[in-house]
């Protein structure tokens, strides 16, 4: 958690509720909402499956070719799926006025954002990672490589949610927001893509992947600290 917000909380929320309550409030709320409209979650997952399924149809069914492409294909599909779901991250809160109330809530906005993002990751990143073995088998990845794939997805998808939330906040209520969002955040996703799919490739080639995983972990830590702050600045700009 970001240090400055922690410090603020000591001064500002001395009464009953702490930072964790704020975090949990958004987390539980967003999970409850997602349970009430489950289709959103499934749409993202089906997009992921369909996108990956299209590749063998496009490049041909040679297993050898598909196996070399598999990590990249699955990772790119996960990237796109996660980005598509990001466009709705703040949209409904923005439209019904909840976002305004979040901005003027007596909690640091970045903590509320972090709660929302954790929910977003549970609803998109985790299912994507859990589904990926199926797609990995489809494309002929070995069992061990599939394990690595799941680990990289679990480490990498929260970074996608975190970085993507900045773009989602900036494009709130902007015409053509969804397409614009992809233009803004896809270039920023590149490092995660490189090390995520790179780890699986390297593993298949018999190279040690500790470096890849530590870098993904480092991206995760850095983005947990900075992305919610940037997102809350962006949200304040967008609700004006």
């Amino acid at each position: 958690m970001a240090e400055p917000t922690k410090h603020e909380s000591m001064k500002l929320c001395p009464k009953k509720l702490g930072l964790f309550t704020a975090f949990r409030l958004m987390l539980v709320r967003d999970l409850t909402l997602a349970m009430r409209r489950r289709t959103d979650v499934f749409t993202t997952l089906f997009f992921f499956i369909i996108a990956v399924t299209l590749f063998p149809l496009g490049v041909g069914p040679e297993m050898e070719l598909l196996r070399t492409m598999a990590p990249g294909v699955i990772w790119v599909a996960a990237l796109l799926a996660s980005m598509l779901s990001l466009s709705t991250l703040f949209a409904s809160d923005y439209e019904d006025g909840t976002l305004e109330q979040m901005v003027i809530a007596p909690y640091p906005l970045s903590v509320l954002v972090l709660g929302k993002l954790f929910a977003h990751w549970i609803l998109t990143g985790v299912p994507l990672a859990l589904l990926s073995p199926l797609l990995g088998m489809q494309l002929g990845l070995s069992t061990d490589a599939i394990q690595v794939l799941v680990i990289t997805l679990l480490l990498g998808t929260p970074v996608l949610s975190l970085i993507g939330s900045i773009g989602a906040a900036l494009t709130l209520g902007v015409r053509g927001g969804g397409v614009l969002l992809s233009l803004l955040v896809l270039p920023l996703f590149v490092p995660v893509l490189i090390f995520g799919s790179g780890a699986v490739e390297a593993f298949s080639a018999g190279i040690n992947i500790d470096g890849h995983l530590s870098l993904l972990g480092a991206f995760l830590i850095v983005s947990i600290v900075f992305a919610p702050l940037a997102t809350s600045v962006a949200l304040r700009i967008s609700v004006e």
């Binding site: 614009l180 233009l183 270039p187 920023l188």
Partner: protein
């Protein structure tokens, strides 16, 4: 303290507008003169490269364009940060005014790079770390420009794009190192751009002259853009009304010049 007052003085659009107007012709003049000298030296005076013959001469455009595009992104992010943190309107405008020029230089850099690559390594495009990062830089510029133009409210547009520029600038080095690592993991290319062995001193000078020419051009164009944006944003301010009124009287030469350049901005 005098220093801070100096900056405060120029951070007001009202004082900056005529100041920029005076600078523009100078920068434009310098840009034209230096470009002519640079192209003359580059195309006619400097010797052909012993390995690449005459095709290398495109670097007099390519290298300065690449330098400028990267530098402009950093400068843009710097102004964006100043604008966002201290709420200086002019700094935000500066960031916005630099973006199209930066994107153009990036595009020129990619284009000339491809043209240079064909005779040098026999292909227009290689997935080299630098080229790939550079392509991503173009995407970052495009994102900035697209976001800025998609938001109708100018205040929100400049703040939102400023934040994006800062986030992008933090990411550029991360992207570069990731791409570099990715590149070494896959087959490394034997001829990387930039390893041009010996450089003749005249070549270096020519290149520097072209860099300064591009600098002057970038400043001139950015100032022109800022001037038109100031007019647009401050069109209800009394000083703009006075300016436009007095330029219609055609009483003062200074104002005629200002109006002309204002028209030039819109063209």
């Amino acid at each position: 303290m005098a220093n801070s007052r100096f900056w405060l003085y120029f951070s007001s659009p009202k004082t900056f507008y005529p100041f920029a107007g005076k600078l523009v012709p100078w920068c434009a003049g310098v840009a034209v003169v230096l470009t002519v000298i640079g192209l003359y030296l580059g195309l006619l005076v400097t010797p052909p490269d012993y390995r690449m013959g005459n095709s290398y001469r495109i670097i007099y455009i390519h290298v300065p364009a690449v330098w400028m595009s990267m530098l402009i992104y950093m400068v843009m992010a710097g102004w964006a940060a100043v604008g966002l943190i201290w709420n200086v309107k002019l700094a935000e405008m500066m960031a916005g005014a630099l973006a199209p020029t930066g994107a153009m230089f990036t595009f020129i850099g990619l284009w000339t790079g491809a043209l240079w690559g064909q005779p040098t390594w026999g292909t227009y495009w290689v997935w080299d770390a630098r080229l790939t990062t550079y392509l991503l830089l173009l995407f970052l510029y495009m994102g900035f420009i697209a976001l800025r133009s998609a938001i109708d409210d100018p205040r929100r547009a400049s703040k939102a794009s400023a934040l994006l520029a800062i986030v992008g600038a933090i990411n550029v080095p991360i992207i570069y190192f990731s791409v570099k690592w990715w590149n070494t993991l896959h087959q490394p290319f034997t001829v990387a751009p930039g390893q041009e062995s010996k450089i003749d001193p005249t070549m270096l000078w020519t290149m520097l002259i072209m860099v300064f020419a591009f600098w002057a051009y970038a400043i001139a164009v950015a100032l022109l853009r800022i001037r038109s944006e100031i007019l647009e944003r401050e069109k209800n301010a009394s000083w703009v009304a006075e300016l436009l009124d007095s330029s219609q009287d055609t009483s003062s030469e200074d104002n005629i010049a200002q109006e002309k350049s204002a028209q030039g901005d819109r063209a």
